[in-house]
Amino acid sequence: MSGLTVRRAALLAAAVACLVYANAIRNGWALDDQLTIPENPAAHSLTAAWEARFSPYWPVRDGATAGLYRPAVIATYALDWTLSGGRAWWFHLSNVLLHALATALAVLVAAAWLTPVGALVAGLVFAVHPVHVEAVANVAGRSEIMAAVGLLLGVLAFRRYRFAAAGRARAAWLAATVAAVLLALLSKEHAVAAVAILALDAWLVRDPARRPVAGPLLAVLAVTVVWLVVWRAVAGGWVGITSGAALRYLSFGERLDTVLPVYLEVIRLLTWPMKLAANYNPQLIPQRTEFTAVAALGAASAAALVALGVASLRRAPAVGFAILAGIATYAPTSNLILVSGTLLGERTLYFAALAPAFAAGWIVQSALRDSRWRRAVLLGLAALLVAYGVRTWTRTPFWRDSRTAMIETLLEYPQNYRSHLQFGRHLDLRGWSAVALAEYLIAGALFERDPFVASRSVPLALHLGRSELAVAEAERAWELRPGHPAITGLLVAALQATGRSDSALAVARNGIELGALGYTPAVIYREALRTADAPAWQLALAEARVSWRAGHLAAASATLDSAAAWIDPQADLEGLCWELGELEPVLATLRPDLPDRALEAAGVAGARCEGGLLRQARGLAN
């Protein structure tokens, strides 16, 4: 292809990227879009986005947020909203254009090692790769594209810095490098690998003058450290062990048993992504607690991929760079070291898709030098591009809206418990309660290790008057997470609905015993006492516990005094001892004399409570 320059190759690949996603413009809001854009006030104006510059990515709902920190993405949503008045097609257009930009940048990065034709092939494969559909055709996937744009811009700017003559140009390119990395970091967490990617590129694309690069890399590292500290402060720490349902409550070893087979799926998605899924929750990828052959194969494949990346660095640096950089960006969500919120997400492979793209570019470039393979390779490439392009085009409407995505997922993967949960929620919000409950029950049956399915099924069962079913669901959840405040509340409510207030009170007490210093178990117990018509002294002690756990020490002190005044000889001594025992830290802190006063008022002066039981003083009758 004479006359093909790198610039033209970049433009051509970008144009194909736009073309293959042309039907994305017809999409609306789907799944995560809803919460992060139409329902997120910060995304509705630039002023609001600026005011939310130190707010978590996920908006606060019911006093809680799922965390993360991606202010650059929110800023672009706000810009889109300002320009379009909140029309979804505009947001999709932005996503497509960003994907085209990322594609063009990928071509420019590849051009350091590949001929313009090779770089063009790399760009084309990257542009049409079906694994990108989730990131491009769903607006919420923008964070992936922006992070990739930032990283690729950073690589290019760092090259310009290294090859620039000393002086202002060099300083300007260094500033551009840092700004690009910052854009990536403020878009998605996996940009934390930026310094490693820049170092790798500097090693592969060497400045002939061999000027040192340690200083600028240290500057990028410093920026990464600053970002990490701010990210942690805003997002509230890394995603917890309890967030990903498939990995919840697993030990490190058990986690590996589940995660290692996922790496096979990652390799499949990068090479033959014809079968796609919106989420990979159990049992689409089964939760495993034993080391299996498939886990061994996953580990071996991952190791082989690393080895291939390292081995390619000299002979095919484009391939080596893309594989190692892809691994570096995938690592934070690989669940190997840290546990992320998802077991596997196709969008997280956006940058990693450079690996097959650059490999294709290198293969075609090599084959073109050898007339024996030229025709076969070109035919193969054409077939691949057509297959990828068609799959991308046909997959894009999947993200038309939440309902389409949900129903399609349910039809494609009925074994995915989370799809049933989501579909049940969808039905519930539309008033189809009975069918919704059925979906929740199916979800629970498909994957029994998620106790929080009960947080949907129990309230709905109670609403429908299916109290015994509610009790059964809540008890199942309690077995998985005994003492969890939310589950305790569900079980207490379910038992009360069946008229078993004694059992409800026992569970609430159990919740207090297991719930350590939590506030919610104290409230649940107080409410259970109220329902059970408990005596005033017992209610007052429960109220004191609630005040104490809320940090209201003045109210706790006053309530304890009231409780002491209301205790009389008719008081249930066993119950009194349990209360005094469970309140021991409060009493020791605020009213250390209250246990003796209480027992005296109950007519057992001189006795004491031990382990919740009454011990009479020597000389007193039992």
Binding site: R53, F54, P212, A214, G215, L218, L221, A222, V225, V226, V229, V230, R232, A233, V234, A550, G551, H552, L553, A554, A555, A556, S557, A588, T589, L590, P592
Partner: protein, 499 residues
């Protein structure tokens, strides 16, 4: 280029980045304001950020801030404006302090190259100095010392050169002036820079540095002159100017008691706990090594040596200097001590024995102490310990007292920052010579009543204001109504003024 040369070339940046990261690691869970001054810095920053001026907005009447120069609060206020949500924004303050300490490390390492001592001296001394646990305690709370050290070190970097132009001298004067706007004791740095240039017969440069320093300091002195008597004399010990403090103490309180053991905290950090008969000779030897290092550094870095001497003299003279004034010298002390030791070692057999004894002593004193502190994060424990009673007090103060509440409490800035309630110091004292005298209970009550105090909080039975509370409670029950009293812990009272 060999690996050794590459390492030496990149050493200042690597040390700076390393110290920055260590500074971040040193941040604990303590509340802002546990060491008193840190809370006032942040209150002043909030006042600036919210457009209320340089005022102590936690005190009733919001008197002007005249105790602390304004550079550090001004920088914090910029961060506050960027992220106006306390305490979430404290992370930005932590980044600023850690970055300042990192810059100080970079500048000290770069400046230290002028000494032409072996790289190993820097490789050992500077990490040891910057990892000294008192320095980690300082960077872990909102103190101005890291910024002050960064400005001091960069001003020396600019001026301690073979050739000093007037322009460079001017920049050094500006930086040392900024150091004075961070901590008043920065005048020692300005004086050091100017005197060093004068001694080097760079008279025009000395004048340029002096003019630059004066220009930078001018707004602060103008502010002080336009706000005379801004602060109630009963709280002048904490909020008044240094002139107010000196006025209370009396000039005789300053001069007779020069603190000859001014560098004692550093010796106590470096040497093992030994009987006095052994410890003091070792301390003298250590001081000797340090002085030897300083004397040999004189020719190459005169501004450093002179400003250091001036600084130590001011700390020795000032009766109320805290140990932290000395802790920030740890990196330089380590550098000069180790450099002096190396120079003495080179002199031959007789001094080698002395150096060997010192090396053993410092290794057996400093290393275990550091290992214990760093291993268990002991450097953060004091601040976290002081925070503990406030974790019990603050929710009650915030949610169980009405919005117009005025509290008398220790660490009043902390209480204001976290609860939004106006607060005054519960323990009132005045300087008296080189010691402090508490105000009487009647004087304290009069102050509380004049300032509209409605509640009184104690952090524990041993709190400084404990005697006042006990006396009030025994004198008239109606004055103090206990709202809660934690066993061996904090307490909150409703306070009523006597009729």
């Amino acid at each position: 280029m060999s690996w050794g040369e590459i390492a030496w070339r990149r050493w200042p940046q690597l040390l700076g980045l390393g110290v920055f990261v260590v500074g971040l690691w040193a941040q604990g869970d303590a509340l802002v304001g546990v060491f008193y001054d840190d809370g006032i810095y942040v209150v002043l920053a909030k006042a600036l950020a919210t457009g209320e001026g340089y005022r102590n907005i936690h005190l009733p009447g919001s008197p002007a801030g005249v105790h602390y120069p304004f550079l550090y609060p001004a920088l914090l206020s910029l961060l506050w404006r960027l992220w106006p949500s306390f305490p979430a924004n404290v992370v930005l303050f932590q980044l600023l302090d850690s970055a300042a300490l990192g810059i100080a490390a970079w500048a000290i390492a770069l400046h230290g190259r002028r000494l032409e001592w072996p790289a190993a001296v820097q490789y050992v001394a500077l990490p040891a100095g910057f990892l000294a646990f008192p320095l980690l305690t300082i960077v872990g709370v909102r103190f101005s010392e890291p910024l002050f050290l960064a400005l001091w070190a960069t001003s020396l970097l600019v001026v301690d050169r073979d050739e000093v132009t007037e322009r460079r001298a001017f920049v050094a004067g500006l930086l040392s002036g900024l150091a004075t706007l961070t901590r008043t004791i920065g005048v020692a740095v300005v004086a050091g820079v100017v005197v060093a240039l004068w001694i080097r017969r760079r008279r025009r440069a000395a004048v340029a540095a002096a003019v630059a320093g004066a220009v930078v300091m001018l707004p602060w002195f103008a502010w002080l002159l336009t706000h005379p008597g801004a602060v109630d004399p009963r709280i002048a010990s904490n909020y008044g100017t240094y002139v107010d403090a000196a006025g209370q103490a009396g000039i005789l309180g300053l001069l007779p008691g020069v603190n000859v053991g001014v560098l004692g905290p550093l010796a106590r950090l470096a040497l093992p706990a030994l009987p006095g008969a052994l410890w003091y000779p070792l301390a003298v030897l250590l001081l000797g090594a340090l002085l030897w290092g300083a004397a040999s550094a004189w020719r190459r870095v005169p501004a450093f040596v002179i400003s250091l001497v001036f600084y130590v003299i001011v700390v020795a003279l000032w009766p109320y200097a805290s140990d932290r004034f000395v802790w920030i010298l740890a990196p330089w002390a380590a550098l000069l001590g180790l450099g002096g030791g190396w120079l003495l070692w080179r002199r031959g057999a007789p001094t080698r024995w002395v150096v060997a004894v010192l090396a053993v002593a410092v290794s057996s004193g400093y290393l275990p102490r550091e290992a214990a502190s760093l291993g268990g994060r002991g450097f953060a424990r004091t601040a976290e310990g002081i925070s503990a009673p406030f974790h019990l007090l603050l929710p009650s103060i915030t949610e169980e007292t009405p919005p117009g509440t005025v509290l008398a409490v220790s660490d009043e800035a902390l209480v204001y920052l976290y609860s939004g309630r106006a607060a005054v110091p519960s323990y009132l004292f005045r300087w008296q010579g080189r010691r402090t005298d508490p105000l009487t209970t009647d004087e304290s009550v009069a102050y509380y009543c004049e300032n509209g105090v409605t509640h009184l909080a104690l952090t524990g039975p041993g709190a400084a204001a404990g005697p006042v509370v006990r006396e009030l409670a025994s004198a008239d029950e109606s004055l103090l109504e206990p709202l809660f009293q934690v066993t061996s812990g904090p307490a909150l009272f409703r306070f009523s003024c006597p009729d």
